[in-house]
Every structure is written in structure tokens, then in C-alpha cells.
Amino acid sequence: MSLVRQYLRDTLWVAVGYFVLMAVALAAAILYWPDFRDNLPSIVKLLPFDALRELVAGIERFGYWAYFAIQQDFKGCSLFGLAAVALFGSGVVAREADQKTAEFLLSRPVSRTRILLVRFATAAVLVLAPVFLTSLGGMWLSPVVGERLAPGPVLAAAAYLGLFLLMQLAFCVWLSAGSEHQLRAGVILIGIMLFQFALYLVKGVGDWTLYALVDPSRLGPIQAGRFPWREAAGFAAATIGFLLLAIRRFARRDF
């Protein structure tokens, strides 16, 4: 419990800020839906990349559901979620090294594995709770613009995106376990993900990036009850793999 409280002391307000940003961004997007729907053909003409045009084509195909999924899952989670993952994940170990407090913490009778797992679990809750809460909030707000969303697909999409974020979190914790500076671990993760997103926008290469796994081609079918189990299992396996590597790295490190 002490470990959780001590970790939350540094992260709770950031988590609240992340939740507010997610909620405001989604509410604004939902309220903008009628204008977006009415001006869809003009918006398509303004888009500079084929990848973005394909995203909007997904909206034409799947309707409000695809719009909601892109706003909440593809944009909201990938943008704010990535920032949250970088902030919370990078601090799991590297923050202690950065602040020179590692010696104090590691000289307590608590194992490094427990420290890492407790903090990972806490960070996971901080990252995922806003994803689920804002998704449910979006479902509640949708009738304001004359649309309805079934809770099953909304929660399934949130769970799928949650797994995607958990994989990034575990990777960031692995970076953090070997880094002297918190900033470095966070910047490396954001750099890699931005590079992935830049590639996603390149026609012909985009299908081979991580973002292709969370775009409307995967999220759209969730509405029809077709959950991308194979991809979700891949995210879960990668999460476990990165976590095991992080535990190993942390255990072997001197402070």
C-alpha cells in the first residue's frame, strides 16, 4: 500500500489532468459530429494524406461508430494515452535514479520485482481508467447529437485500445528500468511512436506500422461483434514479454 501511495503522490494530479483532457477532447468531438457529418465530402478534399482519406472513408462506411472510435481510440488514446504512458511508465524506475532516491527505496525490505509490478499496475490503472471512463461518458453524451452507441462494442474497443496502451507502458517501463533519467525513457517511447505514426501516413508502408493495428480497419468490425482477438493476444503477449525483460533489467541494475 505504501508503494502505491508513494507512486500516486507524484502522479495523481497528472492522471487527473489526463482524464480531463481526454474527456474535454471527446465531448468536443461528439458535439462537432453533426457539422462533420454534413461537411464530410468537403473535409475529404482537404485531407493531405491518403491514410487520412482512408480514415475518413472508414467513417463514411461505419458511420458515427467509426467517427467515435477514431476520435476516442485512434486519436484520443494514441495522443493523450501515449503522453500518459510516457509520463507514468518512464517514472517507474528512472524517476528514482533521477532523483537519487533509489538507494532509499531499494534498501527497504521489499523486492525489486514487487516494486516494479506494483508500480506497473498502478500506472496501468492511471492510464486505463480515463480510457474506460471517457468511453462510457461518450456513450452517455452521444444521444445529445442524435446518435446511440451500444455499451458492448464501446467497452470492447476501449479494452482493445487499453491492451495497445499496456504494451506501450510495459515497453516504457523496460526503458525506465535501464535509464538514469526519466525524461530519456519517455522521449525514446514518444520518438518511436511518432516515427510509427509518420510511417503510418506513408502509403504502402502504413500497413506495417503499429497504428495500422488500431485504425478503423480493426476498430470498425468491433461494432459488428468481430473483436480482433489475434491482435489483442499479440498486445498482451508483448506486454508480458516487456514486463519480464524489465524485471530482469531492474534486478541486475546497481544504484
Binding site: 532509499f104 531499494l106 534498501s107 527497504r108 525490505p109 521489499v110 541486475r252 546497481d254 544504484f255
Partner: protein, 297 residues
């Protein structure tokens, strides 16, 4: 209670500990003395598993510190350097956090110690003076109610009054059977507090033993500085004399009264001659070179 054999550790190809052998008995106050970079903190970190030794054995309170560091940490009250504190926590909160992990941790005792040492429990750690931070670290280590205390520079930054209080506290702990192992720059404090000391330099123990014994040895030692380099065979010899050193700087250990020694040195090209003195400070000066002394100052 605490034992190491050939404990060695290096960082990036640089040896910090080069085979440290030590044995500390239960209820003993043991001081590890040395200049900055001698390896004192690394040695303490090895004992609690913050740093993994490259070679050697370490045992604390009957537990193998290399293979079971978690078990060792349950039996140790540890006070690292003051930079290791969480500066955004309040002092009382920090104490609770530290103690909460220990099986026999006693928060009430910790609060009482904070009050005794004059540390304001409600103030943020970052706003405490160096001395207050040091006291907080000592209080949390003592509040763990562990059979072994490992303290990194517990007397650094304390004013004379606080130093007296802390020395008294640690002596009381030792009298109650707790083993106290500390590293120190404060030679005067270590002299008052420790039963035995070891001098560490560049990861090696130069001298170790009961304080009284070391000081008695120092009482019959002369520092002899010469105007020219002389090899050992050109130095005068008498029964029981032992020359230690090289070139222009020598130490002479002798038996009997000083008056009998001085005539024997008359033929030497003396630049300076002085007794080693009767304190750890003098012993430290004698054991370490000028660079070490400068660093320590």
C-alpha cells in the same frame, strides 16, 4: 553479526572495493573511516543489495547478503546519504513510509525520536537543513527496530549538540545489543562512538582494530620527514624499531620511552620530526597521503 570475505566491486572497469574482509560482533559499534571515493558507501550498498558485489561473501545477522538481500533488509535499519530522501514528502510521512516496510517497524518510536532530535514532523523534507535531514535518516533507521544498523555518514552535517545526542542514541542502541556499523568522515565523533574502526583507502582496508589499541600504537609512533630520499637500509636500526614508509617520509614505531629514541635519530638529515599523536585524526593523517587529506577536508 556482520562478516565479509574478499568483498569486491567495480564500476565501469574501476575497482571500488578490492577484497574487503571484516567481522563485526553483535552489540559492537564499528566505524568505517576513509576519504571520499574510498568505497565506504559502496560497501554499505553491497550489504543491503542496492549494489551487487562482483566477488566475495557477505553475511549480515546470519543471513547471506548476496543470495538473500531481501531477508537482510528485514534485519537492517539503513540510513543512506541525505540526497536519497524524497524531498516532497513531509518528515513524519517519510518516516512512516520508511518504517512501513519493516516487520518490527515502530512508528511511535520514530515520532518520539524525531521529537527528541528536534526534527519538525510536519515540514517538507526538501525544506529541512542538512543536519535535520541527517537526523530524519537516523530516526527512521532506529525506528525499524532492527538488530543491525547500517549508517552512511550519520554524523556529517550535525552541530556539536546534535552530534552528542546522536552519539548518545547510538551508544544506547549498542548497549541494548544492536550492532551499529557506520561510515564516517567525522573522526572525532567516530573516536567517541566506535569500539572498533577500519581505515579504508581505494577499496582496501589499511588498518583495523579496537580504537584504544590503534591509539596506543599511535602513541609510540614518530613521523620522520627527511630532507633527502633514503633507502630503508640507510636508516638506523635498534631492537624493536620498525620503519614504515619510503623516500623522505617515514614512520618509526618504537618500544619504550621517546627519550631513548631521539639520540638514535641524530645522524639523520631531518626536515621534521613529530609524534603521531593520540587521536584517530592523527592516525588518519598518517595513513592517508596529502591528496586524501585534502579531499577529506
Amino acid at each position: 553479526m556482520l562478516r565479509t570475505v574478499g568483498l569486491a566491486k567495480g564500476f565501469a572497469g574501476r575497482s571500488v572495493l578490492r577484497g574487503v574482509d571484516l567481522e563485526v560482533a553483535s552489540g559492537e559499534v564499528f566505524g568505517f573511516i576513509g576519504p571520499n571515493g574510498a568505497g565506504k558507501s559502496t560497501f554499505l550498498k553491497c550489504l543491503v543489495g542496492v549494489v551487487r558485489p562482483d566477488a566475495g561473501e557477505a553475511e549480515v545477522a546470519g543471513v547471506d547478503a548476496i543470495r538473500r538481500p531481501l531477508e537482510v533488509r528485514r534485519r537492517v535499519g539503513y540510513a543512506p546519504g541525505e540526497t536519497a530522501l524524497y524531498h516532497r514528502m513531509r518528515a513524519g510521512e517519510h518516516l512512516n513510509f520508511a518504517v512501513s516496510f519493516h516487520p518490527d517497524g515502530d512508528r511511535r518510536r520514530g515520532r518520539a525520536l524525531l521529537a527528541e532530535l528536534g526534527v519538525p514532523a510536519g515540514r517538507r523534507v526538501g525544506r529541512l537543513s542538512h543536519g535535520m535531514k541527517r537526523k530524519l535518516l537516523i530516526a527512521q533507521a532506529l525506528a525499524c527496530r532492527a538488530p543491525v544498523l547500517l549508517l552512511d555518514e550519520p554524523l556529517a552535517g550535525l552541530d556539536p549538540e546534535a552530534r552528542r545526542t546522536v552519539v548518545g542514541l547510538l551508544r544506547r542502541e549498542a548497549e541494548a545489543g544492536t550492532t551499529v556499523f557506520l561510515s564516517s568522515h567525522d573522526l572525532a565523533g567516530a573516536e567517541r562512538l566506535c569500539d572498533r574502526v577500519a581505515f579504508l583507502r581505494a577499496g582496501r582496508i589499511l588498518a583495523a582494530g579496537p580504537v584504544a589499541e590503534l591509539l596506543a600504537g599511535a602513541e609510540r609512533t614518530l613521523i620522520v620527514e627527511l630532507r633527502v630520499d633514503l633507502p630503508r637500509h640507510r636508516l638506523p636500526r635498534r631492537p624493536g624499531w620498525e620503519w614504515i614508509g619510503a623516500g623522505r617520509r617515514w614512520r618509526l614505531r618504537y618500544p619504550g620511552p621517546l627519550e631513548r629514541v631521539l639520540p638514535g635519530l641524530a645522524e639523520l638529515p631531518l626536515a621534521a620530526l613529530r609524534p603521531l599523536g593520540a587521536g584517530l585524526e592523527e592516525l588518519f593523517e598518517d595513513l592517508y597521503g596529502p591528496e586524501d587529506r585534502k579531499e577529506q577536508a
